[in-house]
């Protein structure tokens, strides 16, 4: 009995250190909050920038809902209608696609810099965990949203991904081997990617994921405000800047610039101009799959290894790094920021190289010419 009580007490102390609600006051979260000034200070803006792009997604997403029709026969036509006939419809849609990419870019930068700055260390473990959840949710947003326009590349890429899930079953022992195909069936909803899949993805993309995201985001931002900014460098910087009004105004300034850039991009450059048109024709269930089916660029880090390396190797790597991501605060508890920066740089280098030169590396391995 006594033992149990002390365990309970331990849990309470653990949680109260991670969620110091005694600091839940306007004074400590706004007027007294300070942001350290040092050579990595720019990284403190990354999270806010991600939030901006999420807000743009939320706004433009709601706009798109007014015209989008989630049925196999109408989806593609309704997206085309938005693009060509609704006033400023192309702008809303381009903003949604451009800002989704920007959101993922900022999110990755945010995650890598917080890692390098050891902002996950005690007492900020929960902040890191909720951030990781947000990363997964954002990828889920990207994956589900990709299917909705129901064009060739969308449906076929989704097919490939779902089939890959089933593939993982071959590497699992015993009864577990049927698990992936169950998961696939749950996601897909019918024998092949069709109306059931579209409905599921739609529900996920516009209702379930946003709700989950907002809840997680709330906890994430609250814990950031409760703990204050982490010191970020090994020798704490003496200089600091008041969060309010200085940091927050700079943050808003940056938001303005970022919005302007995305707005101009959305106005001038359709995201789809990076691909050949046939990929954006309506999905044809009876025809051959067109060439050049690929996921969005932010899945290249997973896609190209899958193309080049044996399946089991990639699966193992991804599982391990997924677990590693969640356990980061405990694995790297005693690592210096210098070592963390080196790891972060290596991860960044991998992501940049595989995203920019993945196709070239693939051609090199396969001996095909593009």
């Amino acid at each position: 009995m006594k033992d149990r009580k002390s365990k309970f007490l331990k849990l309470v102390t653990f949680l109260s250190e991670r969620m110091p609600i005694q600091k839940l006051s306007f004074e400590s979260m706004v007027t007294k909050k300070e942001v350290p000034v040092h050579r990595m200070s720019w990284a403190y803006y990354m999270g806010g920038l991600t939030l901006l792009f999420f807000l743009i997604q939320l706004g433009t997403g709601v706009f798109l809902l007014f015209y989008y029709q989630p049925t196999v026969s109408d989806a593609h036509a309704s997206v085309e209608y938005i693009t060509y006939f609704v006033n400023s419809g192309f702008l809303i849609r381009n903003l949604h696609t451009w800002s989704s990419s920007c959101m993922i870019l900022c999110l990755l930068a945010h995650m890598i810099t917080t890692f390098a700055m050891k902002a996950f260390a005690r007492p900020r473990e929960i902040t890191w965990l909720s951030g990781t959840m947000l990363l997964i949710l954002t990828f889920a947003f990207g994956f589900t949203g990709y299917l909705l326009p129901w064009h060739q590349i969308a449906v076929n890429a989704t097919k490939v991904v779902l089939q890959s899930i089933e593939e993982a079953g071959h590497y699992l022992p015993g009864i577990l081997s049927t698990l992936p195909s169950y998961i696939k069936e749950i996601i897909q909803g019918e024998a092949s990617v069709g109306q059931a899949t579209l409905s599921r993805f739609y529900a996920l993309h516009v209702v379930i994921l946003p709700l989950l995201f907002l809840a997680t985001l709330g906890s994430h931002v609250l814990s950031v405000q409760l703990h204050g900014m982490s010191q970020g460098v090994d020798t704490p910087s003496k200089k600091a800047e008041r969060f309010f009004p200085f940091f927050i105004l700079k943050d808003f300034w940056l938001w303005g610039v970022a919005f302007l850039i995305v707005f101009i991009l959305a106005l001038c450059l359709p995201f789809e101009s990076f691909y050949a048109y046939p990929l954006f024709e309506a999905y044809d269930a009876l025809g051959s799959t067109p060439e050049g089916i690929k996921p969005e660029w932010y899945f290249y880090f997973l896609y190209y290894p899958l193309e080049i390396l044996p399946f089991w190797m990639v699966m193992l790597g991804m599982t391990l790094s997924g677990i590693g991501l969640f356990l980061t605060p405990w694995i790297f508890k005693n690592t210096s920021r210098k070592a963390l920066s080196i790891i972060a740089l290596m991860i960044t280098a991998y992501l940049i190289i595989i995203t920019l030169f993945g196709q070239n590396i693939y051609d090199m391995f396969k001996g095909t010419t593009p």
Partner: protein, 435 residues
């Protein structure tokens, strides 16, 4: 006669007086060449009046000068409707701003005891004439719309004639009363210029921009510290106010621009008849396509055999797509002996639909991850991502009366027989018993 005095005599008197008076005043009493500041006596009202007044009047004067100095450029500009609307709106807003600030400036002259001690009759007169002048200008703008467009043509020649010493007031004499009043009182203002505080317009402290900054230092340490603290907190407040104002203003601008775009999003779309018809036909076609797919599904549930093609229509170079009993894509070819080859088109790697064109080695390609499949055996090429062969489907050949001639199950076992003339006219089916 009176008109001639107002629009020819008065202008010359005013201009001469302006030139001579300004020079004499500068020569004799250079230190009076400014407007006597009352900022130390009363600052709260002044801050809200002086600044807007100067903003407003500068804008208005700029408009007047541009319109009369470069009538060609100006006329070209105001022929753009948007620009004209903007200029008019800006002018009216500025004059309202000026009127309100002049009112405040007047009131403070009368309600503040300290100010009354330094206020001269001329100060009040200047304020009153300025008020009258701006008010008459506003009346012109409101009663005779689009002054920015008509004034350069209607009044430009008059101004020009005054300065080229060939005075011609015939145009102005025909003008409506508000315009005449506005012009006449402008000349009065110019006349008063060298006598009043208005001369400060000639004494612009441009060197303030270039001189090195001055710092006020207390010689008493405690006062110095207190002073610095006050300056710091004031600076902080000012910075915050500035930034907050900037953010609010830009947010307002942004929402204005965004609203312009986004409100349209919910308006009715402007489609031509042809576009509407095109859209509708496209929609119908998609609906038909969906309906056809459903029909295929129903057909596969209810029928024992499904027609694929006339055997004579099949070729060995290009497959024909159809949908098998599991609603998956499949391909039908014809081999060298004239018999059908029927196999699944769903790639055994990750489920893409395999292409229909046969290459010179008798293979078809899955474009997703580059696997080649031999159509005879279904086997993928060595090293392909796909490991398993494309499965063959069972098929049946029937004659036109529907009699089964030859059947083959998925494993390649055949039953029945067929001769070459029957072969040419036979029809290819897939059947439920083989699936």
């Amino acid at each position: 006669m009176f008109d001639s005095f107002l629009f020819i005599g008065l202008p010359y008197v005013a201009i001469v007086f302006l030139l001579v008076g300004s020079i004499i005043r500068y020569k004799l009493r250079a230190f009076s060449y400014s407007s006597l500041s009352t900022q130390f006596l009363e600052n709260r009202w002044l801050a809200w009046a002086s600044l807007p007044w100067h903003f407003g009047i500068t804008l208005i004067l700029l408009g007047h000068v541009l319109a009369f100095a470069c009538p060609g450029i100006w006329s070209a500009l105001v022929s753009i409707p948007t620009f004209l609307t903007m200029v008019e709106a800006l002018g009216i807003l500025s004059s309202l701003l000026c009127l309100i600030s002049l009112m405040v400036l007047l009131i403070r002259r009368f309600v503040d005891a300290k100010l009354q001690a330094v206020t001269s009759h001329l100060d009040v007169l200047v304020l009153l004439i300025l008020f009258f002048q701006v008010f008459s200008g506003l009346m012109v703008a409101l009663h005779h719309r689009w002054g920015a467009a008509w004034a350069p043509g209607a009044l430009g020649p008059y101004i020009h004639s005054i300065f080229t010493f060939k005075p011609d007031a015939s145009f102005v004499k025909e003008m409506p009363p508000f315009v005449k009043i506005h012009i006449a009182s402008a000349w009065v203002l110019i006349l008063l210029f060298p006598l009043t505080r208005l001369v400060h317009a000639l004494a612009l402290p441009f060197h303030y921009f270039f001189r090195s900054p001055q710092k006020v230092v207390w010689n008493n340490t405690r006062s110095q510290i207190r002073f610095e603290q006050r300056i710091e907190s004031e600076n902080e407040r000012r910075l915050f106010l500035k930034a907050a104002f900037g953010t609010t203003a830009s947010a307002a601008l942004l929402s204005l621009g965004a609203l312009d775009k986004f409100l349209g999003y919910f308006l009715k779309q402007d489609l031509t008849n042809a576009e509407e018809a095109h859209l509708l036909s496209k929609k119908l076609q998609r609906l038909k396509q969906s309906a056809e797919e459903r029909e295929l599904e129903l057909e596969r549930m209810s029928k024992d055999s499904i027609f694929v093609a006339n055997l004579s229509d099949l070729s060995s170079a290009k497959g024909k797509y159809f949908i098998d009993y599991e609603m998956r894509p499949a391909l039908a070819f014809r081999d060298g002996q004239g018999l059908p080859i029927v196999l699944s088109a769903k790639c055994t790697h990750l489920g893409c639909t395999v292409g229909q064109d046969v290459d010179n080695q008798g293979r078809i390609l899955c474009p997703c991850h580059i696997s080649y499949f031999d159509i005879k055996t279904g086997q993928p090429n060595t090293g392909a991502p796909a490991k398993a062969p494309l499965p063959h489907l069972g098929w049946v050949l029937k004659d036109s009366q529907g009699h089964e001639l030859l059947a083959q199950d998925p494993d390649g076992r055949r039953e029945g027989a067929i001769n070459s003339s029957q072969l040419e006219n036979s029809l290819l089916f897939i059947v439920k018993r083989f699936s």
